[in-house]
């Protein structure tokens, strides 16, 4: 049954002195779909491998349910095979010399279950994942999406306490990716299994995650539900990393006139020399020039993104902003920009306040 995962004070140092993880603390609830999101080199895969037992932490403790699986300070370590976890690897790591059936049956055979039981469970899981007709094929004769399903089936067939997914979508092309995400999310909800997914892609993270943790250089930047990360980024890194198209971020001296236009508090202006101003393209709306707005500028470029249009707008003083275009405008036209929300970050990048209009 679903068990939670508790990660306490995890450090990982690769000798001589690469610090991959710095004091990670997380409590993952039973049945939760938890996503670890970060750019490459952030330590996210290392953390997943520590949970799996493929890597040993330098310091700290991991427990699955009530059972401690690794405690670096006490020198205690439980082998991956005794942790009852299922894992899907980035390239799926299917055994190329075995058929899909044998791949899925592999964990059960190792448990020495009776033949009929193995057969029944493999058929069941294959049925559930829609790969029942592929069981005789070898991995080399399957598409990426099918291989992924077999890998998920292999991870699920032994009814693990925790399912670990390491970048499971990154080898799929864009179209299959969307269905694969839905499929993983559906399976996860149906089985109620605690799932930890690692990805560098925020779209993956937000599509499937109940809760998302953002890592950068081995440090937790922010953890929360997707809306939180989007609406209340704790620092410039998160603000920049999350959201598509990316947030407009300006590094400005506090004497800059833009700050007065958007109404930043005098208190902040007096306290700081420089601040970062962050405005999401979706929260800056370009309207006809006669409409009332906070800023005015000239359209430089118009981009079509699906049903929406974004415009890059020159604000003068060498500043330009990407904004949602909600009026007729051509290159060179003047528009007025109405802001919905502005984030203000200190010179060290921490969020000071969010101004709503």
């Amino acid at each position: 049954m679903a068990k939670g995962v508790r990660i306490e004070n995890i450090w990982k140092i690769f000798p001589p002195k690469v610090v991959a993880l710095k004091n990670i603390n997380v409590e993952i609830k039973p049945g939760e779909f938890f996503v670890i999101l970060g750019p490459s080199g952030s330590g996210k895969t290392t953390l997943l491998r520590i949970i799996a037992g493929l890597e040993v932490p330098t310091r700290g403790r991991v427990s699955i349910g009530d059972k401690v699986v690794v405690d670096a300070d006490k020198g205690m370590f439980i082998e991956p095979r005794d942790r009852n976890i299922g894992m899907v690897f980035q390239n799926w790591a299917l055994y190329p010399h075995m058929s899909a059936y044998d791949n899925i049956a592999f964990p059960l055979k190792l448990k020495k279950l009776p033949k009929e039981e193995i057969n029944k469970r493999v058929k069941e899981v294959a049925e559930a994942l829609g790969i029942a007709d592929l069981l005789n094929r070898k991995p080399g004769h399957m598409s990426g999406g099918q291989q992924q399903r077999v890998a998920v089936a292999r991870a699920l067939v032994k009814q693990p306490d925790v399912l670990l997914l390491d970048e499971p979508f990154s080898n799929l092309d864009a179209r299959i990716r969307v269905t694969a995400r839905e499929f993983v999310k559906e399976i996860q909800k149906k089985l109620g299994i605690t799932t930890i997914l690692v990805t560098h892609d925020q779209a993956d993270a937000f599509a499937v995650g109940d809760r998302v943790m953002v890592l950068r250089n081995g440090e937790v930047q922010q953890m929360g539900i997707p809306e939180e990360l989007y609406d209340q980024p704790v620092n410039v890194f998160i603000a920049n990393f999350i959201g598509d198209p990316p947030m407009n971020i300006f590094k400005l001296p506090t004497t800059h006139e833009l700050l007065k236009k958007i109404g930043v508090d005098d208190e902040i202006i007096n306290k700081h020399k420089e601040v970062y101003i962050g405005i999401r393209p979706d929260e800056a709306i370009a309207l006809e020039p006669k409409e009332e707005g906070h800023l005015k500028g000239t359209v430089i470029i118009i981009e079509y993104v699906g049903s929406r249009k974004y415009a890059k707008i020159d604000l003068g003083n060498g500043l330009s902003i990407r904004a949602l275009l909600e009026c007729r405008a051509d290159n060179g036209d003047t528009v007025s920009i109405r802001l919905v929300k502005v984030h203000v970050f200190s010179e060290t990048g921490e969020r000071i306040t969010t101004i709503r209009f």
């Binding site: 799996a52 037992g53 493929l54 082998e79 991956p80 095979r81 976890i85 299922g86 894992m87 690897f89 980035q90 390239n91 790591a93 055994y95 190329p96 010399h97 592999f106 964990p107 190792l110 448990k111 292999r154 032994k158």
Partner: protein
């Protein structure tokens, strides 16, 4: 995996000019390599007189005969057939034993950490450079003390221990090219270290194992030196020891000698031919990074 290979292939083949040059070089090497063999073959299927008078390359007169082969195989003094049998008795275990042991050792070197692993491996490589002639005297006395001189077992043990280091080296490189993720997946799936090795690593390494086995078999089969020093009972002599005895006392019977050589060559040749596909794959896998 496939993509990478294709990419390499196009890189190699490139322009028609390059193909021409490569072909010419390959043909030159091939002809140089095969000429002596053709010479021996021609000598073996013609009466000795003809070869001596006109040379093996002249085609007239040409008389085909199997007399040399029959003489060589059924020589009442030195039975080449017995030699072949002895060679098999020696070569088969001398291939299987070191492959088994070296596969385990190599996997250890490829995947497990050990405090002095680097030095240990360097020592193995270093000792591989020691020539046979330097080791033969201690080996001789060792076998004598073990009462294994002039026995099959003694020679098998010597060949096995001679094979283990290089096969270890060969297989270690092969194993470290296998994707580690497969082994990790197996560990998560519940396999013990030995199960990972047996169920996942070994089947994937078959081309490498076969390459090593073919080379080791050919090496043991072709060995003359160890056999010469360690086996002296004519009934236990291997085929390479029998060959020089076909030479004759006062004049060299080239016909007999060359037919004997062809017979002796047959076993390794057939094995190369039979396992050629795997053998090539073993080396191709070796040459490319996956």
């Amino acid at each position: 995996m496939k993509k990478l290979y294709r990419f390499r292939r196009t890189g190699l083949i490139g322009s028609p000019f390059k193909i021409l040059i490569l072909n010419i070089i390959a043909w030159i090497i091939g002809i140089l390599w095969i000429t002596p063999f053709i010479g021996i073959f021609m000598t073996s299927i013609r009466p000795f007189r003809e070869v001596v008078l006109y040379g093996w390359w002249s085609l007239s007169p040409f008389t085909f005969t199997l007399k040399n082969y029959i003489d060589a195989l059924f020589n009442p003094m030195f039975s080449l057939g017995r030699g072949l049998l002895n060679s098999f008795i020696i070569a088969i275990p001398s291939t299987l034993i070191p492959i088994t042991i070296a596969a385990l050792t190599a996997y250890g070197f490829a995947r497990f950490s050990l405090p002095i692993k680097k030095y240990l491996f360097a020592t193995i490589l270093f000792l591989m450079a020691v020539p046979q002639q330097m080791t033969i005297i201690p080996i001789f006395f060792l076998l004598k003390d073990l009462h294994l001189l002039n026995t099959y077992l003694g020679l098998i043990l010597v060949h096995s221990s001679w094979g283990i280091p290089w096969i270890t080296f060969f297989l270690r490189n092969y194993f470290s090219l296998l994707p580690a993720e497969l082994e990790e997946a197996a560990r998560v799936d519940g396999a013990s270290d030995f199960q990972v090795f047996r169920i996942v690593v070994l089947p994937l390494a078959i081309p490498g194992l076969i390459s090593a086995a073919v080379l080791q078999f050919a090496w043991v089969w072709n060995d003359f030196f160890f056999a010469l020093m360690l086996i002296f009972d004519p009934n236990k002599m291997v085929v390479t020891q029998m060959l020089p005895r076909l030479k004759g006392q006062y004049q060299v019977d080239w016909g007999l000698l060359s037919s004997g050589s062809i017979i002796a060559m047959l076993a390794p040749l057939l094995i190369y031919g039979f396992f050629n596909k795997y053998y090539m794959r073993g080396f191709r896998g070796w040459a490319m990074k996956r």
